[in-house]
Amino acid sequence: MLASVSSAVVVGVEGHGVRVEVHVAGGLPSFSVVGLPDASCREARDRVRAAVLSAGFRFPPERITVNLAPTDLRKHGPCLDLPIALALLVASGQLDADPLVGTGFLGELGLDGSVRPVVGALPLAEVLGSGPLVVPLRNLDEVRLVAPGARGAATLRGVAECLQGESPWPDPEPRRSIGAGGVVGESSAERPSVDLADVQGHPLGRLAIEVAAAGGHHTLLVGPPGAGKTMLAERLVGLLPDLTDQEALEVARVHSAAGPTRPGGPVSDAPAVLSRRPPFRSPHHTASVVALVGGGSRTLRPGEISLATSGVLFMDELGEFPAAHLDALRQPLESGVVDVVRASVSARLPARFLLVGATNPCPCGFAPDPRCRCSPAQIQRYVRRLSGPVLDRFDLRVRIERPDPESLFGGGAAVESTGDVRPRVLGARQVAAGRGVRCNRMLRGDALERHAPLHPDAVDLLRDRVDRGTLSVRGAQRVRAVALTLIDLAGGSPPIGVDDLLLAEHLRIGDVTGGAAP
């Protein structure tokens, strides 16, 4: 007997439809899987056999062939367990074929016949979305974002009974309410646990992250250890506007495809919950290039830059990242996507992130203070990785000094909290949206010329800087974009005056060593 069931596998952050065909016929008893399965997929044989028996069904002592079509696509992961088992039951005459027609199935099977959640349920459901869908119960919340009619499955036996109409489909209470447009409406009041009010002092650092959030400007924080660079970077994400429906879905898709095992990612119990908050990713500098940009030998997984899409990618100790890592970021920084290509598969992954780097000015961290004990050669070696093209990507390059003890202990003058600053950021983003871009960083060439007119004095100032060589022509344009963000934040309107330009210039220091490198 022959039976076939639709399912899907995930490549990159996209699902690809797969047809599971099972043929059961006489011959020496055997169970083989063909159609380019990888190891985790081929192991389905043993899981399916045990699950079928545990669920109280008969495992046919015949020659069983499973084919996964299309056969030129490499199948990875255990999400085909459930469809294989169901097709087997149909092919061996234990289940009626009709209810399965046109229904997509996803799920990993346990040896006890339970249905376990799968990685990438969201993109998988998207590709199967046209018809009815049965997914693991624990994936139901995320799948319903794109397929409201999806059914949940807890056990193989349960699925079989529900399909035959012997019992109703389980209909658990959604863990989160589903808002308009099919997106889980998470309250935007749900803030990260860190708040700008915790940061005492740092007027320049606070200004920098406010400008970064408002204008989407990539930011490099330079300063001695313990100055508060990480603290500031963590608070930047709280200033960013909530994600739009589309962005939230994209973020959920990437996180769903990356799976539950990634550090900082969703835990296995609640895979890929949809959140309105932009993600914050902070890869360690020992991460591999593949972990950073995505890829992998057997399957294409999104990397940290994709997981940070629509959010913040924080690279602490930027100078410790190998040069190859930093170079790999250049193309995604420009285009907002990363194309990962392997011999057999390729995928386009989203990578539209706000890059925040933090670095010490020298190996010991104290340059140019007399406390610095690094040799000039050491300092040069340290900052060489950050020179040129890499440094050029940062519109904001700010020196973060240790705050003076007075501001820490001396009564602590009231400082603005995230809630105070955020409305300004949102206002500035709205102004930018009126210019037809997501944020001012996106303004280039003509658009910048049109939307950021300069006061005649400001033109003279920029010309002077370019003549003296303290700013490149490109640098001058970036300073101009930052000055526009400063105006937007202050609620003003162009033309850009000298004051804004001077402040923007100071937010873009040229020498990260503070003059310590000769």
Partner: protein, 389 residues
């Protein structure tokens, strides 16, 4: 490799003496003293023949850990792999000249040195050393203050025709050379490595400029790498060439202190630039002043020490425009060490915009210098525009 040259060709086939000395300078365990003893044996071509045949008198060898016999044997083995003629052609190809002690073009200042170099490899014109020479030296681990002073000194000394001598190291040396290149008179550099790679990579462009305008010289042949022990040896040449040695910034035990020791041994005048108390880069200078070295607060002090006081211009009046308003407040809050803009905002209780605006005015009018987010007061310019680092 078969050295076809030395074994089959009669020695001294038209090669100048300097070619043999240059080759000998590249042998193992040959320092200035040994090379002078080798040169004193007579005709260099004949001496090379002695080396090649292992018949060098043991008296030539320095009393050191290596036994004279094995040293002579080592030279003999080494001489099989080098050929004075091809080495000479290579020097010519690189544009490197060789002046030998007692020969033409040898710097006069070195003639009465107790430990003169037997040969000097030169890029550029050795005659620039006939001008009065002033060494401007200091630490690699310099501050913006020190580099500013060194740059100004270099420029102003060169402007009155003094040859500024230094070592092409990072920091003070480089700033002094860069200033001297702007000043007018040809500068000179004495380096510790071979002239094919005379200095750290960051200074190579500067080295080419110094060589083009003046002279870069070395005691060791091309191909010799910079080794730590060579720098004190090189420093003695710097001290010897100069009539006055100015130490701009130095730690208490810095390499510049060895230049000072050599200068004192040779009866040269030593001046030190005073620096901020507590700055490690100025500890050596301040200690020198305490020990009785002359104080250098500007080009006038150096020229006075040279006996060229007639060239000293009257101290120019500070013609910078007096700041007013916020700029004045900001300048008042600023000391002579680098400070952050946040510090200034805190001290002056002005907002960041006002501070940055004030700083821009001050910078344009030559009151402050800014680098990498830090601000520092600048001294009154001696005339002409303020230089930017």
């Amino acid at each position: 490799m078969n050295p076809a040259g030395p074994s089959h060709r009669p020695a001294g086939a038209g090669l100048p003496d300097a070619a043999y000395l240059a080759t000998m300078a590249g042998l193992d365990l040959v320092g200035p003293a040994t090379l002078r003893r080798l040169a004193s044996l007579g005709d260099p071509a004949a001496t090379w023949e002695l080396i090649r045949t292992g018949r060098v008198p043991e008296s030539v060898c320095a009393a050191r850990a290596v036994a004279p016999r094995s040293q002579v044997e080592r030279w003999r083995r080494q001489s099989e792999t080098v050929d004075p003629e091809s080495a000479w052609i290579r020097l010519r190809h690189l544009g490197i000249g060789v002046v030998a002690l007692g020969g033409d073009g040898y710097p006069r200042m070195l003639l009465d040195d107790p430990d003169p170099p037997a040969v000097l490899f030169t890029l550029g014109d050795p005659a620039v050393l006939d001008q009065p020479c002033v060494a401007v030296v200091g630490t690699r681990k310099s501050t913006g203050y020190g580099r500013g002073v060194a740059h100004d000194l270099g420029r102003e000394l060169a402007a009155v025709g003094v040859c500024v001598v230094s070592g092409l190291a990072l920091g003070i040396d480089a700033a002094a050379h860069a200033g001297a290149c702007e000043g007018g008179a040809p500068p000179a550099a004495v380096v510790g490595a071979g002239l094919d790679r005379p200095c750290p990579g960051a200074n190579l462009a500067l080295a080419r400029r110094v060589a083009a305008l003046g002279l870069v010289c070395s005691e060791v042949p091309p191909g010799t790498r910079a080794q730590p022990w060579r720098f004190p040896v090189r420093n003695r040449v710097v001290a010897s060439l100069a009539s006055v040695v100015v130490v701009v910034e130095s730690a208490r035990t810095g390499g510049s202190m060895s230049t000072v020791d050599h200068a004192v041994a040779r009866d040269r005048t030593v001046l030190a630039v005073p620096g901020p108390v507590g700055n490690p880069a100025s500890e050596g200078c301040n200690a020198l002043i305490a020990e009785g070295a002359g104080v250098c607060t500007g080009v006038g002090d150096v020229l006075a020490a040279l006996g060229l006081s007639g060239l000293v211009r009257a101290t120019p009046e500070d013609r910078r425009e007096t700041p007013g308003g916020d700029a004045a407040t900001v300048l008042d809050a600023l000391c002579w060490r680098p400070e952050s803009v946040e510090f200034l905002a805190r001290e002056t209780r002005l907002d960041l915009r006002a501070v940055v605006r004030g700083l821009d005015w001050l910078e344009r009018h030559g009151w402050v210098r800014r680098t990498g987010g830090f601000v520092q007061r600048a001294a009154a310019p001696p005339g002409g525009p303020p230089w930017s680092p």
